[in-house]
C-alpha cells in the first residue's frame, strides 16, 4: 500500500465564504497583514497497485473533486 495525499481547494476566482469568515476573525483577533484566506480539504488514502498516483487522479476526476468549483493536487510523500 502506498500513502497518497489529495488536496482539494476551491478554484481561484470562486468565492470562498469560509476563508473570508476566517480572515475576518483573524483580523478581529489583531492579526494584521493577512491577505486572502482559502479553505480546502486534505484526503489521505492508502492505495494498492503500481500506479497509486494515477489511481488517485482518477478518483479525483470521478468523485473526490468537483472540477467546476474545485482544483485538486495529488502527492505521494517520499
Amino acid at each position: 500500500m502506498t500513502s497518497v495525499v489529495v488536496t482539494v481547494m476551491p478554484k481561484q476566482g470562486v468565492l470562498d465564504p469560509q476563508g473570508q469568515a476566517v480572515r475576518g476573525a483573524l483580523e478581529r483577533l489583531g492579526f494584521a497583514g493577512v491577505g486572502e484566506v482559502r479553505i480546502g480539504k486534505r484526503i489521505e488514502l492508502e492505495i494498492a497497485g503500481d500506479d497509486p498516483a494515477g489511481a488517485a487522479r482518477e478518483m479525483c476526476e470521478r468523485l473526490l473533486a468537483n472540477q467546476l468549483i474545485e482544483d485538486y493536487r495529488v502527492e505521494v510523500p517520499g
Binding site: P17, L68, I69
Partner: protein
C-alpha cells in the same frame, strides 16, 4: 402515470414530497438508492431533500453515484421528467444532469424562511400556466444553496425576487436543463402544498411531474 420518489440514506423530505405528489392526483411509489432500476412504469422521478450520505465530501456527491442514479439518468435522457428538491438539486448537479454546483450560502448560515420567487422561464413543464414574472411563495431551508455556474447553460426557471440571501449567481433559485424535463430547485415546493402551510404555490411547480 407513476411518480418514483427516491430515498437515499439520509433523505428527510420523502414523506412530504410523496404527500404533495399524491395531492396532485399522481400515484407515487418509493425507489431505493441501491436499486439497479427505477420501479416499473415510472413516468417521473422526484429526488427529495435531506442530507443524503450525511452530506459527506460534498452535498449530493455520493448520492449522485448511487446505483439507482444510472436509471434516473436513462430516464432523463429519454425525456422523462425529473425534479430534484434541495439536496435532490445538489444530487442532479453532481450527477451532471443539471449544470453548475451548489455551494455554502454566502452568509455561512443555514437559511430557513418563506421566500418570494419569480418565474424566469414560463416555457417549462414546471411553470405551466404561469406567466414570466409570476410570484410564488415557497420556503427554503438549506446551508449549501448558492448556485454557481453559467446561467447561459441552463434555463433559469425561478429566481429569488427580493435580494439574494444565499448568494446564487443571477439570483438563481431553480434551473432546468435545455430540454426542460430535468428541474432542480433549492426551495421546497412540497412544503408549500397545503393551505395549512400558508401557501399552495409549490403544487404549481410539482404539477410538472404529471404529463
Amino acid at each position: 402515470m407513476t411518480v418514483a420518489v427516491v430515498r437515499f440514506p439520509g433523505t428527510l423530505d420523502h414523506d412530504s414530497a410523496r404527500r404533495a405528489v399524491e395531492r396532485l392526483g399522481a400515484p407515487a411509489v418509493w425507489a431505493w438508492h441501491a436499486d439497479p432500476e427505477l420501479p416499473p412504469g415510472t413516468t417521473a422521478v422526484v429526488l427529495p431533500g435531506g442530507f443524503s450520505y450525511g452530506d459527506h465530501l460534498r452535498c449530493g456527491a455520493i448520492a449522485s453515484r448511487a446505483p439507482v442514479m444510472a436509471d434516473v439518468r436513462r430516464h432523463a435522457e429519454r425525456g422523462g421528467r425529473v425534479i430534484g428538491i434541495c439536496n435532490g438539486f445538489q444530487v442532479l448537479c453532481e450527477a451532471g444532469l443539471l449544470p453548475g454546483a451548489l455551494r455554502r450560502n454566502a452568509t455561512l448560515s443555514f437559511v430557513c424562511r418563506q421566500m418570494e420567487l419569480e418565474v424566469g422561464d414560463p416555457d417549462t413543464p414546471w411553470t405551466a400556466g404561469l406567466p414570466a414574472g409570476a410570484t410564488l411563495s415557497i420556503p427554503v431551508k438549506n446551508n449549501e444553496g448558492a448556485w454557481y455556474g453559467d446561467p447561459g447553460e441552463a434555463r433559469v426557471v425561478l429566481r429569488y425576487r427580493a435580494g439574494n440571501p444565499l448568494g446564487s449567481v443571477d439570483r438563481v433559485a431553480g434551473i432546468a436543463n435545455r430540454a426542460g424535463n430535468v428541474m432542480g430547485l433549492m426551495p421546497h415546493p412540497e412544503e408549500a402544498a397545503d393551505p395549512l402551510l400558508g401557501s399552495t404555490d409549490g403544487l404549481r411547480v410539482l404539477a410538472g411531474v404529471s404529463g
